[in-house]
Amino acid sequence: MMLSMLYGVGIAFFGFVLHTSVAGINRKISGRLQKRYGPKWYQEFLDIFKLLSKRATSHGWIFDFGVIMALGGIIATAMFIPVTNNFLAFPDFDNFFIFAYLIAVGMLGMAMSASGSGNPLASIGVMRALTTMLAYDIPYMVVIVTIIKLTGTSSISGLALYQQAAGNNWFIVALPLGAIVAVLALMAGLGKKPFETYIAPAEIASGPLVEYGGKQLGMLFIMMEITHFIEVSLFVNLFLGGAENIFIFLVKYFAVYTALSLISNVYARFKIDQVVLFFYKWPLLIAIVQGFIAIYLGWVI
């Protein structure tokens, strides 16, 4: 058990290193897209370690405790991620619903801490983050439930194995409509551009992060990198057929994240009411249609 725990923490650390590098490379790629040289690929590491080396102001114990809770919650979530078929800490506990619930612990920690800072912009940011989550989670859940209904399992590695066993029949091909919804939800989850309302520097000055500086901000950055790692690897496992070995995982991971950040570079930000309306209009409809034709009509490619 102890060994598995260490293994899990190792996965979280792997996720942190992986996502920070990929995000750094992506900053460089978007730099090139914007006609400039771009930062060093390891700039994100420098940023995080610099933040950890700074002194920080505290706004009360809720503020500090929330950050630790957020980081702890997210590391606990990342421990269950199956990276490849063999590279996972708890083989029988990678149920999708574990992620759906555990990831909320981290988010709630952050929300608690941000509200504890007392800055109205932070509260608005938290409110917007929760609203956005509510908006994209419902269509996403419909798609996931469809997949679970089709396969009869809710284990992430089980789903990945199912796709591999079916001769690489990935769900992104088998359920194209559902995959569109999942991509949109993933973009919202990662805080990519059209759905970036809860960061929105020009409106609410980075939202929940407004009062953080120094160590707390560094920890939140680590937490956000691991969150992104969880979300992208869930997508890789659910829709791209998982990975047999670490190399395939890296390729898929990089491809997904880069594609999303390229898309987000040419879009402006929605308003919060537009985000909610958007998700409850088309993606929800598409997700229900997908569920209907996949489950009742059985039209799965």
Partner: protein, 189 residues
């Protein structure tokens, strides 16, 4: 268990080593506060965007003072701005650095006889690097940042320590010029 090998390093030396490691990260990832206090801020967009691309040095604009490392005083400071600037400076988390752009921060520049603009910035907040010119070219601005990185490397950029140690002196100057440093809310009924 006591390790003889490491006990040779005193606590101070260990702190120093840690500080040097921290300095490496700090100088390679300088975040500056997006606060355009004066007209030299107009040369910042070229410095930040594609033409000179500040991000390749690891620098970037930040939304709030808590997250920022550099307070960029871009040009003249009217009294009204100075109140807010001091407020902002004190919010930033240490270590923090101040860069003064333009001749207005040095001696008042073209506004040396104006009734609303202060003449010498380092009476109120400590300044680590000055960039002269009215307004300084983008190259000069970038050079100023590189100078700041060197200063951090050689441990000479310690204005924030000065501010902490001589807080009373700075406070006294602020009060002498401003009368009242606190910002009052004009529209609050």
């Amino acid at each position: 268990m006591k390790s003889t090998k490491f006990s040779e390093l005193s606590q101070e030396q260990v702190d120093r080593k840690w500080w040097e490691i921290g300095d490496f990260f700090r100088r390679n990832s300088l975040w500056m506060l997006m606060y355009c206090t004066g007209c030299c801020a107009i040369e910042l967009p070229p410095a930040m965007t594609s033409a000179y691309d500040m991000e390749r040095l690891g620098m970037g604009p930040m939304a709030t003072p808590r997250q920022a490392d550099i307070l960029l005083v871009s040009g003249y400071l009217s009294l009204k701005t100075l109140r807010r600037l001091i407020y902002t400076y004190e919010q930033m988390s240490e270590p923090k650095y101040v860069v003064g752009l333009g001749s207005c921060t040095i001696n008042g520049g073209i506004y040396h006889d104006s009734h609303a603009v202060i003449n010498q910035l380092d009476q109120y907040v400590p300044v680590d690097v000055y960039v002269a010119g009215c307004m300084p070219n983008t190259e000069a601005v970038m050079n100023g940042f590189v100078d700041l990185m060197d200063a951090i490397k050689h441990k000479t950029a310690n204005g924030w320590k000065k501010y902490r140690d001589n807080y009373d002196w700075y406070r006294q100057n602020q009060i002498a010029s401003l009368g009242e440093v606190e910002v009052h809310d004009e529209f609050h009924e």
